[in-house]
Amino acid sequence: MDSGPSGGAAGLTEIRWHARGGQGAVTAAKMVAELALGQGKYFQAFPEYGPERSGAPIVAFTRVSDDPINIYSGVEHPQIVVVLDASLISAVDVTRGASNDVVILVNTELPPGGVRERYGLKGGRLFTVDASRIAMETLRRAIPNTPMIGALAKATGLFQVEDVAEFIRHDFAKKFSAKVVEGNIAALTRSYDEVRGE
C-alpha cells in the first residue's frame, strides 16, 4: 500500500533534510516552516530525534501546506531532499521513498554531474552549491544552513529569496549582532546566485 506523499494531499510540500549534527539542519528545517507562516501557509518542522552528537547523521523534516496538516509521521515520500553533507550520500539512502522528479540539493564543491559520478546518485533533479565554502567566506564558520536556504529558494521556488532576507533581518536581529545578520544575508544571496542545476 503506497499512500503517496502524505496520502496524496494537494498543495502539500514535504522536505527531508539529511545532515550531520552541528550543521544547523534542524534550524534550517524550522526556518522554512517560519517562512511558510510568513506566506500564510500551514507548516510543520521536526527532527527525527536521536542522540545529538556532533558529526552523527541526522534527519529532519519540514511540511508546508495550503491546508491544515494532520499527519505527524516522518516524511516517507519527500518532494525535496536537502543534503548538507555530501559524504552522507554514500552512508544513507538520501532518496529513499522519493519519486523520480524529487528535487535534490547537495552541499558540495562538485557540479551536479560530479556528484552523480562520485556517489552514483541516480534520479531526481539535482542541484549543488558549495554552501560550506560560502559559509566560511561570509560567516567564518562552516555552518551551511543559511546558504542552503538561499539555494533552496532558487532550486524550488518555494519562497522568494527577498522574503528570506527580510526574515533574517527581523528574526536573527533578536539574537545576533548586525554583522552576523548581514553575513547571513550575504551567505543567502551568494548561494542563491551560485547554485547549479543540471
Binding site: M1, D2, G7, A33, A45, F46, N70, I71, S73
Partner: protein, 401 residues
C-alpha cells in the same frame, strides 16, 4: 480551504505550554527538568528571571520533591503548577495519590514519553496511562494548539468547586513537544479573565482557621468515605469539563468535547486513538472515505474521568471498533484505552466488536499505511460472520516473517 489565522505563531509544543503558563502566572511553580519536558522548565525559569511572571519558582532535586513542594504550596493556599515526563512522572508516583487525596487543584503538564527499560526517551503513553488510577483528571491533546488550550482549561477544571482535584494534561513527546507547529494564543487579558483569580479552600496559611491536612486516619477512620468522595468529584468533573470547554469555545472559537469524533455518524468501522496519531488517522479516514469505505475515528480527549456513556453513544452503531493504544497493560486483555472502550460498549445491543492494537512504543513511528492496515483488519472483521479474535494486533512491529 481553511485559511491560516493571521495571529498564528510558529512554536514548539513546549513553547505553547510555557506561554499558557505565563498567562496563568501561578503563585508557585516547582519543577525538575526531564527530557522531553525540559524546555518548559527552562523557558519558565527564563520568564521568572526576566520578570515576565511573578511566580515563586522552586528548583528541586528530583520529581518526588517537585510534587512534594507542589503539594505543600498548594495546601498552603497557592495556585501551583508543575511539569514532567516519563521517569520523572514515575518518581512522583506516591505523591500523585497524595495530591489527589488532599483535593489540591494542582495542574501538571506531562509530556508523554516511554518508561525505562530499555532506556528510551521517545514518545509513548506508558507514563500517564500508568497513572490513570492516581485520582488526577487526565486530558490528552493532539497538537500544539490543544496543548495550549488544554493547559488553560485544566486549571479551571481542577479549581472548580464541584471538582477540586489535580489535573494533568498531556501531549506527545518530541512529535509535538519538540516540533514546530502553528499556535493561536488568546490575548493575555482574555486568557487571564478566563483563568480568573484563585480561591484557596481551607489553606494552611489561614492561621485564624487552622486545619490539618493529611493526618493518619486509622483503621476506624474515614479513609473509605474519603476515597468515595474523591470518586464522586471525579464523576462530577465530566459536567465541569464540558462546561469549561463551552466557555472556552466562546472566547477562542475552538470547541472541545469529552471526546473528539470524526466522521463517525454513519461509520461501519472506527478507530479510537490518543494524541498526535489522531491527526494521521483523520487523514487516513478521509482517504478511505473517498474510496467509499465508511471509516471514522474518535480521539480520546478526557481519559480520567472516562466518559463511558459518551463513547457508548458515539460508537454503538459501529460494527467494528479498533482501539490504538500507545501503551500496554501487560497481562491484561489489551491496552488501557482498549479496556475502557470495550467496557463502555458492553451494554450496547447489538454490541460492536472491539479489537486491540498496540503501536508506537518507545517512539516507533506510525505511518498512514500502518493505520490503513489497521482499518483493513477492521473491514475484514466487519465482513466476517464470526467474531474476530481479540488477540493484540501490533502496528509497525519488526517481526521475523
Amino acid at each position: 480551504m481553511p485559511r491560516l489565522n493571521r495571529e498564528t505563531v510558529a512554536v514548539t509544543g513546549n513553547e505553547a505550554v510555557a506561554e499558557a503558563m505565563r498567562q496563568i502566572n501561578p503563585d508557585v511553580v516547582c519543577a525538575y527538568p526531564i527530557t522531553p519536558q525540559t524546555e518548559i522548565v527552562q523557558l519558565y525559569a527564563q520568564m521568572v528571571a526576566d520578570g515576565k511572571v511573578t511566580s515563586e519558582f522552586v528548583t528541586v532535586e528530583s520529581e518526588h520533591s517537585a510534587m512534594s513542594a507542589v503539594i505543600g504550596s498548594a495546601a498552603a493556599g497557592a495556585r501551583t503548577m508543575t511539569a514532567t515526563s516519563s521517569q520523572g512522572f514515575a518518581l512522583m508516583w506516591e505523591m500523585l495519590y497524595v495530591a489527589a487525596s488532599y483535593r489540591l487543584p494542582i495542574v501538571m503538564t506531562t509530556v508523554n514519553r516511554a518508561l525505562s527499560g530499555p532506556i528510551n526517551i521517545h514518545c509513548d503513553h506508558s507514563d500517564t496511562m500508568g497513572g490513570r488510577d492516581t485520582g488526577w483528571i487526565q486530558l490528552y491533546g493532539e497538537n500544539h494548539q490543544q496543548a495550549y488550550d488544554n493547559c488553560l482549561q485544566a486549571l479551571r477544571i481542577a479549581e472548580h468547586l464541584d471538582v477540586r482535584l489535580p489535573a494533568m494534561h498531556m501531549y506527545d513527546g518530541y512529535v509535538i513537544s519538540g516540533a514546530i507547529g502553528p499556535l493561536v494564543m488568546l490575548p493575555d487579558a482574555k486568557a487571564r479573565e478566563f483563568v480568573g483569580p484563585y480561591h484557596a479552600i481551607n489553606p494552611l496559611l489561614d492561621v485564624a482557621n487552622p486545619v490539618t491536612v493529611g493526618p493518619f486516619d486509622g483503621l476506624h477512620g474515614w479513609y473509605f468515605e474519603h476515597k468515595v468522595a474523591q470518586n464522586r468529584a471525579m464523576d462530577r468533573a465530566l459536567t465541569v469539563i464540558q462546561g469549561v470547554a463551552d466557555e472556552y469555545a466562546e472566547i477562542s472559537g475552538r470547541p472541545y468535547g469529552l471526546l473528539d469524533p470524526y466522521r463517525l455518524e454513519d461509520a461501519d468501522i472506527a478507530i479510537v486513538v490518543v494524541g498526535s496519531t489522531a491527526g494521521t488517522t483523520r487523514m487516513v479516514v478521509d482517504k478511505l472515505r473517498t474510496r467509499g469505505v465508511k471509516a471514522g475515528m474518535a480521539r480520546v480527549r478526557v481519559f480520567r474521568p472516562f466518559p463511558h456513556e459518551a463513547y457508548a453513544k458515539a460508537l454503538e452503531h459501529v460494527k467494528v471498533v479498533g482501539v490504538l493504544d500507545r501503551a500496554d497493560s501487560s497481562g491484561a486483555q489489551g491496552g488501557p484505552v482498549f479496556l475502557e472502550v470495550r467496557s463502555a460498549l458492553y451494554d450496547s445491543d447489538p454490541r460492536p466488536q472491539v479489537l486491540p492494537f498496540i503501536y508506537g512504543l518507545g517512539g516507533r513511528d506510525i505511518f498512514p499505511d500502518d493505520i490503513e492496515h489497521a482499518f483493513a483488519q477492521l473491514e475484514e472483521a466487519a465482513q466476517s460472520t464470526r467474531r474476530s479474535s481479540i488477540e493484540r494486533r501490533y502496528l509497525n512491529l519488526r517481526e521475523d516473517k
